[in-house]
């Protein structure tokens, strides 16, 4: 059998999706047994684990990660489900879904900054209520940001995970035959929301199970949201691992590896619990369906509208306040708006922002270009679909913080060092899955008869790809590029660990500055981060309209 270019791309894709995770986990296991590259002698494994378990606050870190992750995933899924149950199938929903992609694009860190300036004791919500309602003349002495229970962090996670799950559910609708099922159960006298939950949701959930697991794993191990909104004494386990991994004292790398294994175990336990929960809920749903009780589901519709509006307000409101802070001069506490305006921050950080922004976008573009070639090549190869589906979710479900420390060690060992190349490769591992996820459906939806006709016209497979499939898919490809760039721009941990501080991006800079607590600077960086991620989306919308302005079949097809 000859190896066509597309087969080569397919196996490269398999390698990129699977290789780093496996290499990283191997490195983590070695590290946890005390083998750290750069250290002369291995540390006895017992000492490593002893140090981990005696680390101050470690027990609370573990519990914190566990329960905030479960809570965030649970609320995200429940909210997404309620929104779909109460709202899908309506005209306003069809319009609103176009707003989901930008929601998804906003980096976690930027969204978290926005939430921080809203809910902090001196934040906008407190200002809006002060002093007329609350009586506060000074910011109240409340621990809202970084509350010990991690509720602020949970909120930050939900605002980002909710649109992701919604998008996944929408994508699953056609296969779940939602419209037909709905017509059927409505005819049986079920209200919209209840009918949707009983008849459509099971089919949807079956398809989005892996994305849900990814959300759960992510919520339990997120670093950026935790750094901005999470508790500090003690922080979630992911942050503890990060501190160990980034510490100049190499012996702490062994602790980072051991911690990564703890995190991995935590996620596995949570996944098992979640699976048990699935079974229980399914049982409950069946008995509810068999009971035959009808209900209007009005409550679900109201809840759906409230939830969608709340998360929208948190995201957009957050950005409005970030924008205000970035141009605020004097802005004392109870004042709702800045007393004076000043462009001092933009003037002093402008040049650095442009430079870092350009580097961030350039890196994202290079990574996405490579990922796009790999994704399209793999899809052309008509791959072993099961293998690809499983592998696509591997880097999304195995938490970054559990394999990146091991990978860091491995890349040091093979002399890859740190800098643009390892950072780009790391981004590729996380960008490629999203491109494959976004492109697979449009690619498979192309009428297969086009292929037959083109072959009949004598077009070689390569010409069919360049002249037909590529232009026919321009619109989804532009969208996929935007998603990919947003993913790359939002990466924090891989950039930090593989870059070794030598490749600052908007995200790493923003998080570094966050420690300083200057809201004006944070506002500017948060905005720049979001703008960098959203700009490709604007282009992705505009480009097909421009290119296909004389091709009706491409705009409405």
């Amino acid at each position: 059998m000859t190896l066509s270019p597309s087969h080569l791309f397919f196996w490269l894709t398999v390698l990129i999706l699977g290789g780093p995770v496996l290499a990283g986990l191997t490195g983590v296991v070695a590290g946890a047994m005390g083998h750290v590259p750069g250290l002369q002698n291995a540390i006895p494994a017992g000492d490593v684990w002893g140090a981990v378990w005696s680390w101050p606050g470690i027990g609370r870190s573990v519990t914190l990660s566990f329960w905030t992750g479960l809570l965030a995933a649970l609320i995200s899924l429940a909210s997404a489900t309620l929104i779909m149950a109460g709202w899908s199938g309506t005209l306003s929903f069809a319009r609103a879904r176009h707003w989901l992609a930008p929601f998804l694009a906003v980096p976690h860190a930027a969204a978290a900054f926005g939430i921080a300036v809203l809910i902090a004791p001196s934040g906008w919500i407190a200002r809006a209520l002060s002093p007329w309602l609350s009586g506060w003349e000074r910011p109240p002495d409340l621990l809202i940001l970084g509350d010990p229970l991690g509720l602020a962090m949970v909120l930050g996670l939900i605002v980002k995970e909710l649109p992701f799950l919604l998008l996944m559910m929408i994508a699953a609708l056609p296969q779940a035959k939602a419209a037909t099922s709905m017509a059927l159960v409505t005819a049986l006298g079920y209200g919209c929301a209840r009918g949707w939950l009983l008849a459509v949701f099971p089919g949807i959930y079956r398809q989005i199970r892996l994305p849900v697991y990814a959300v759960l794993a992510y919520s339990m191990s997120a670093v950026d949201a935790a750094l901005i909104l999470g508790p500090t004494t003690p922080p979630p386990i992911a942050i503890v691992i990060l501190r160990w991994a980034a510490d100049p004292d190499l012996s702490l790398r062994a602790l980072a590896s051991a911690g990564a294994l703890v995190q991995l175990g935590l996620v596995l336990v949570a996944l098992v619990l979640w699976r048990l929960g699935e079974i229980a809920v399914a049982q409950l749903g069946r008995s509810l369906a068999e009971s035959g009780q009808r209900g209007s589901g009005r409550a679900a519709e109201i809840a759906a509208a409230t939830l969608a509006a709340t998360s929208g307000i948190f995201l957009f409101g957050g950005f409005a306040v970030l924008a205000l802070w970035s141009v605020a001069g004097a802005w004392h506490f109870p004042a709702f708006l800045p007393e004076t305006l000043s462009f001092r921050v933009w003037a002093s950080h402008g040049a650095a922002l442009v430079e870092t922004g350009a580097a961030t976008l350039l890196l994202a573009f290079a990574v996405v270009a490579l990922a796009l070639a790999l994704a399209l090549g793999s899809l052309e190869a008509k791959p072993h679909r099961c293998l690809l589906t499983a592998l696509v979710y591997l880097p999304l479900i195995v938490p970054q913080v559990t394999f990146l420390p091991g990978l860091q060690a491995a890349s040091l060992k093979i002399g890859l060092g740190s800098g643009a190349l390892p950072v780009g490769l790391m981004h590729l591992v996380f960008v490629l899955p999203y491109l494959l996820l976004v492109l697979a459906d449009p690619f498979n939806a192309l009428d297969p008869r086009y292929r037959t006709i083109a072959a009949g016209l004598g077009l070689s497979p390569a010409r069919q790809f360049w002249r037909l499939r590529l232009p026919l898919l321009l619109t989804p490809i532009a969208g996929a590029v935007a998603v990919g760039m947003a993913v790359s721009i939002g990466q924090y941990l891989p950039t930090l660990l593989a870059g070794g501080g030598r490749l600052p991006t908007l995200t790493t800079e923003a998080l570094a500055l966050a420690a300083g607590g200057d809201r004006r600077v944070i506002g500017a960086y948060g905005l720049a981060q979001a703008a960098a991620a959203l700009a490709p989306f604007a282009l992705a919308l505009a480009l097909p309209r421009r290119v296909w302005r004389n091709r009706q079949g491409m705009l409405h097809g």
Binding site: R449, T452, A455, G456, L457, L459, Q464, R551, G553, G557
Partner: protein, 210 residues
């Protein structure tokens, strides 16, 4: 080029179960009709000839074109033109772009444009080369689709219920246009249909699948 398209016990199977088996000779310049109820394997036979048998099925037997067994060639080297019920013009290309796509590569630009222009005027569509295919009427699209496949100089023509979506007046008009062009070029043509009127109009041998 007076080549016949000959199917020698062309058999499509799913695993070990044969679905359909057929032997026939479609003579050059003649319209051979393949009739049968849906599910009788008509589409699978066409897919075997174009080299696009779907996953899970496989074809055995010989497909001879001018004495050469093309069954072993990849689809794009077989030069089998096909017309479907839908026009399936490529929506991203202009009318002229659709036609030029089928032209063999090479030749001067003006020469290629000239051939596209002549093909359009042959079917009464002068001056439409720059148009967006989405703006054409159903009859116009069908004619563009016909000229696209003919310009690619196929060695045989397959018609997969190509007149199904046209209303009755247009139907007979397009039908005779397609048949006349196929006969005039001496193409062996295989028509798959379940409409007896199509078979009658084709005027060639009729093979019934069960």
């Amino acid at each position: 080029m007076a080549e016949s398209l000959i199917l020698k016990t062309l058999t499509i199977s799913a695993g070990a179960t044969p679905i359909v088996s057929v032997s026939l000779t479609a003579a050059a310049g003649e319209i051979t009709t393949l009739m049968g109820p849906s599910g009788s394997g008509k589409s699978s036979i066409l897919a075997a000839i174009t080299g696009t048998v779907p996953d899970g099925l496989f074809a055995t037997g010989e497909i001879l074109l001018g004495g050469q067994n093309i069954a072993t060639l990849p689809g794009w080297k077989r030069h089998i033109g096909i017309l479907y019920q839908d026009d399936l013009l490529f929506p991203h290309l202009s009318v002229g772009g659709n036609l030029a796509l089928g032209l063999a590569p090479g030749g001067r630009r003006t020469e290629r444009q000239g051939r596209v222009k002549r093909a359009l005027s042959e079917v009464g569509l002068e001056g439409l080369a720059a148009r967006d295919p989405a703006t054409l009427s159903g009859g116009q699209k069908a004619r563009v689709a016909l000229m696209r496949v003919l310009l690619s100089e196929p060695r045989a023509l397959l018609l997969d219920e190509p007149f199904g979506t046209l209303d009755s007046e247009l139907r007979s008009q397009i039908r005779s246009l397609v048949f006349n062009h196929a006969k005039a070029r001496g193409l062996p043509t295989l028509l798959v249909t379940h409409d007896p009127q199509d078979a009658e109009a084709a005027g060639g041998p009729v093979i019934r699948l069960r």
